[in-house]
């Protein structure tokens, strides 16, 4: 069923190289570079899902890595480092919500971040989750959030599309988000 690639063309890394890299990844992190390389995308995604702003997610991912790396002594076992990264991420994210929006309950919210949260996820996963969440909502709630978040309409465009005033579109958006909050834990695995 396949074309066997010729051995002279662009080749994968040597098998020993792959095996060595995988061994290191499975056992210990020897230096901060490998901690960064393995986890930065997962940490960024975790932060992005919690704050929704790429600029904030970048700052928070950086803070999580720096705090963790300044505390941990390397080399250290991978699972220890990751557990510590998740713990740090919870604190940093809760601090963000508390400092920016006065959210005193953030620490309990963020405690729900699962330990395996650092695995980088495919870029469709957050989108699938959004779709599933919207699918649970009544029609007009679904529609306003779909127009705004998935189709990129401004509030003015969404209002026109739905035959509403802008003020009413904002109210509908707020009510839709609150309704979605009731379902969110069901969708968040």
């Amino acid at each position: 069923m396949t074309d066997v690639p010729s051995s002279s063309e662009a080749t994968p890394p040597g098998r020993e190289e792959v095996a060595r890299g995988a061994h290191e990844a499975a056992e210990v992190y020897a230096d901060w570079e490998s901690v960064y390389r393995d986890n930065v995308v997962g940490i960024y995604q975790l932060a992005m899902r919690r704050v929704g702003s790429s600029a904030d997610a970048e700052d928070l991912a950086q803070e999580v890595l720096i705090r963790t790396l300044k505390t941990l002594r390397l080399p250290a076992p991978v699972h220890n480092v990751r557990a510590y990264l998740v713990k740090t991420a919870r604190t940093v994210l809760a601090d963000h919500w508390r400092r920016h929006y006065g959210d005193q309950a953030a620490i309990t919210e963020v405690a729900l971040v699962p330990a395996e949260a650092l695995s980088a996820t495919p870029n469709g996963v957050a989108a699938d989750r959004a779709q599933r969440l919207l699918g649970l909502l009544p029609d007009r709630f679904h529609r306003i959030l779909e127009l705004r978040f998935l189709r990129g309409y401004s509030i003015r465009e969404a209002a026109r599309e739905m035959g509403l005033t802008e003020v009413n579109a904002r109210v509908l958006q707020f009510r839709a988000l609150r309704k979605a909050a009731e379902f969110e834990t069901e969708v968040l695995e």
Binding site: Q62, Y101, Q173
Partner: protein, 226 residues
Amino acid sequence: MSKSPAERVGAFVDDLLRGRRPRRFAAKEDELEAMRVAAGLAAGRVGADLPSKEALDRIHQELARQMDDSPILEPRFSRRAWLRTVSAAAAAVVAGVVIDQVVGGSEVPLGATAGGPVLMPDKGQWRPVAALSDLPEGHARAVSTGSVEAVIVNDSGNIHAVSGICTHLGCRLVPDDALPKLNCPCHQTAFAWSGKVLYYRLKQEPADLPRIQSRLRDGQIELYVV
């Protein structure tokens, strides 16, 4: 001055969707609930939960600056390391692009460095799987038509598609845009965007990914599938 919750949360959502850093304010509990959902939905826009290469570079540089006991050789080390890892992919991706530009007729030339064979289903038809606007440059996305799992790729404006199933034992591939590659979650195997095997930890090299014909029509990415 005294805005309603709908207005305050609305401003927060506007900031998120326009890529601005949201302004701080003291939110009430019902506002916070709505804002948490809004953050998750904003991250759910296609490609939005992946860091840009520039963001990763900035994080890396700051880490390098702060980890002073670990002198860095040069600031872009990580990108260089990644490029070394995926150097095999680079040639294959280029070949894939050339081939994909030819796609559209029923015969697709197979280049020597391309991925696997081209899927030519009996009774195939063009089916839209995503809007082009939902697949920014430099991103890959897993899609399904019900019968076929695929990964669509926007490589510098060139759109192409490969099977989304690992040729080893059928696990669904996970696009990793940062490197870029398609990871098999089961056995540490990865494919280039072109479908070519990049690396593997198996006794035998798995086959390259079958490619899927793709085209653009009315802003929609369509695949030739069943």
